[in-house]
Amino acid sequence: MTMEAMETPEQRIRTLAVELLREGKIDMFVGLRRGVLPLTGTPCFIPASRGGAQEDLEQAVGQLVWGGYSAPNLAAYLVSFYEPDLRLKQQPEKPVLGLQVRSCELRSVYTLVREKQVPRDKLVLVGVPCRGMVDLRRLREKLDLERVTDAVEEPGALKLKLPGGEVVRLDREEFIEDACRECRRPSVPEESVDFLVDGPSRKEAAGVYDAVRAFEDRPVEERWRIFLEETSKCIRCYACRQACPTCYCRDCFAEQTDLHWIGASAELSDIQLFHLVRIFHQAGRCSSCGACARACPVGVDLRTFTQKIVKDVDEFFGSLPGFSLEEVSPLNVFREDDGEEFMSEP
């Protein structure tokens, strides 16, 4: 048994980050640190030049965590590092980033690389195992999360400390996000990253489209009623769009001022158009990471609707965003025998 094998995934991430930063292989490491609130993770950006002192670097890297912390998809931060500043004639040299990625984040990264938003050669990918992310919404339904004073995550349990000092022990698996429960590829393939951190990952899920199928089976008016109810909650804060790594348009159609596709306010039909187009634009891109639904402050059930496009792209065209540079966008190609049962005949 090597030394490495004895490290926990968290220690291994820290070791790799220190090495990469110290050896000058990356300009910045992007990972997660604990948020102030229990069971949350917040993005952590550690630049190589932190005044140079060894202790400083180790202290910064010591914040990096691995676990089920509820956190955004880190791939959502990449495009801003590489998009050109249109005001400048000559673009400055872009940084090389070390990035801690779980499998869903990696799929987003590959989509961004394929779509030329992020250069692969500027990324050092550190794949990490994933046991699923804690679902804060579900926890909130169960207990007064806003008053929980501390929380510890164990492989099979969540231990939360209540204001009175009482500790509640919950079955971890019960409080994992749907996106993770339904994840069919929780492990990072070794060949798709530069470093792979060993550790326990979830098992591959079966029946991933069950929720979509169940929704499809509802009567049409009921489907509309639910869509209406869900979109009525939306406050148009754009958190779903901003949290999504593959919603990267510089000028979103919702904000284009020359064409004015939709109104600027929270008018219901405009909100519905926004979501329909947002979902449609995720065809062939969505990694099913769940970041959009997680980001929503008002609990719109984005997953039920966004997963539909994933399922259709998968079932109609046999395409699912994965871990390679060779995949082609399903909407940039066609087959002569693509299904056309949906088309009308006189």
Binding site: G35, V36, L37, P38, T40, G41, T42, P43, C44, F45, S70, A71, P72, A76, Y77, S80, R87, R137, R140, E141, D144, E146, R147, V148, T149, P163, I235, R236, C237, Y238, A239, R241, Q242, A243, E255, T257, G263, A264, S265, A266, E267, A291, R294, A295, P297, V298, G299
Partner: protein, 350 residues
């Protein structure tokens, strides 16, 4: 005056439905109602299940006075029609407003009243005038609360017409304004007089709650913000920000808005005021394409400066009441307390 101030009353919680029924006859009565996503501001019915225990509602009650989408005027073709009818000109009672949110309304009053410019906002002010605010003191603040660091307190009564304290089986109601006194007078039949022990347990509870609120030392903030507009710390602070509008839309004092015209499928035109947010690039972009706040660093800085520096300079008030909504709901789990601390400790180096 001294005697009137003592006008504290007791409402048996079992009589809450009666109170709601009595109020609903003459006013739109709103309160925090239990839902799957936590308490929500809703129109109350006698059968409503009020949530008086949760820390606070996800969305703040500012939407009652500054709706997310509001018609300013209507038109057809190029003709302006009459202003929208004041059909909703009913009294509004907000029951169970947290102290932080009531203080936030006072911030909004500064903006929409005539103070900041010589113009008043009739839409906002009319709703404010029609409304009665009944606050509910916090017994058990949440992890994200920091009202005491920005001048508030869990049992504060600023912005309240009537202040309520939850004493378990009963509510202690104290009038704070004349409007509040009138209200308690009208509801006399449902109320009994409070005695010394009620007042004492309310006091003890307030003290206890106050001691439980986490503190952020903001003593040097105004000074550092005034100095550190170009500090590199802003770049660092903005990096994890996703650029969405959650913090602003959920904030009880954020009030920036847009005005736009919409025409429906039948040619009816409305001029709409809708919430807008300084974190969106479009917010400041000129028609020419030039944008004074073109990147996230500038936009995050604007939000912080607006709340903790500009409003202080213009009206002497910090536009943050420490409700913690931005902390609880940020999709990147950024914590404004950490940001403010970082600005004080790291700012000013350059």
């Amino acid at each position: 005056m001294g005697k009137q101030k003592q006008q504290a009353k007791i409402l048996d919680k079992a009589k809450l439905p009666d109170l709601i029924e009595a109020l609903s006859a003459r006013a739109v009565c709103l309160g925090p109602v239990r839902s799957a996503d936590g308490p929500r501001w809703e129109r109350l019915k006698p059968s409503s299940v009020l949530d008086l225990e949760s820390v606070n509602t996800r969305l703040s009650p500012k939407a009652v006075f500054l709706p997310q989408r509001e018609v300013l005027c209507t038109f057809r073709g190029d003709r302006l029609e009459d202003s929208p009818p004041e059909s909703e000109a009913e009294r509004t009672v907000l029951f169970g407003v947290r102290a932080c949110d009531a203080r936030a309304l006072q911030c909004l009053d500064l903006v929409f009243g005539p103070g900041q410019s010589r113009f008043s906002d009739p839409y906002y002010l009319e709703r404010r005038e029609r409304a009665l605010i009944i606050t509910l003191a916090c017994r058990e603040p949440g992890r994200a609360c920091f009202c005491t660091s920005v001048g508030g307190s869990p049992a504060g009564t600023e912005g309240a017409d009537v202040a309520a304290v939850d004493l378990g089986a009963e509510l202690l109601l104290t009038a704070v304004t004349d409007k509040g006194r009138d209200f308690l007078g009208e509801q006399e039949a449902l109320l009994t007089a409070a005695d010394q022990s009620h007042l004492e347990s309310a006091r003890n509870q307030a003290e206890r709650a106050r001691s439980l609120v986490g503190a952020v030392d903001l003593e040097k903030l105004t000074e550092t913000l005034a100095r550190d507009f170009d500090d590199p710390v802003w770049e660092e602070l903005a990096r994890p920000c996703l650029g969405c509008g959650v913090c602003a839309y959920l904030c009880p004092t954020c009030h920036c808005f847009d005005i736009s015209d919409e025409v429906d499928s039948r040619g009816a035109g409305v001029r709409i005021r809708s919430w807008d947010c300084c974190q969106y690039p479009l917010f400041t972009r000129h028609a020419s394409g030039h944008n004074p706040r073109v990147n996230r660093k500038q936009r995050l800085r604007q939000r912080i400066m607006h709340k903790y520096a500009y409003t202080v300079e213009n009206s002497g008030v910090i536009f943050c009441v420490g409700c913690g909504r931005c902390i609880l709901n940020c999709p990147a789990h950024l914590d404004i307390r950490v940001t403010l601390r970082a600005l004080q400790t790291r700012g000013g180096r350059s």
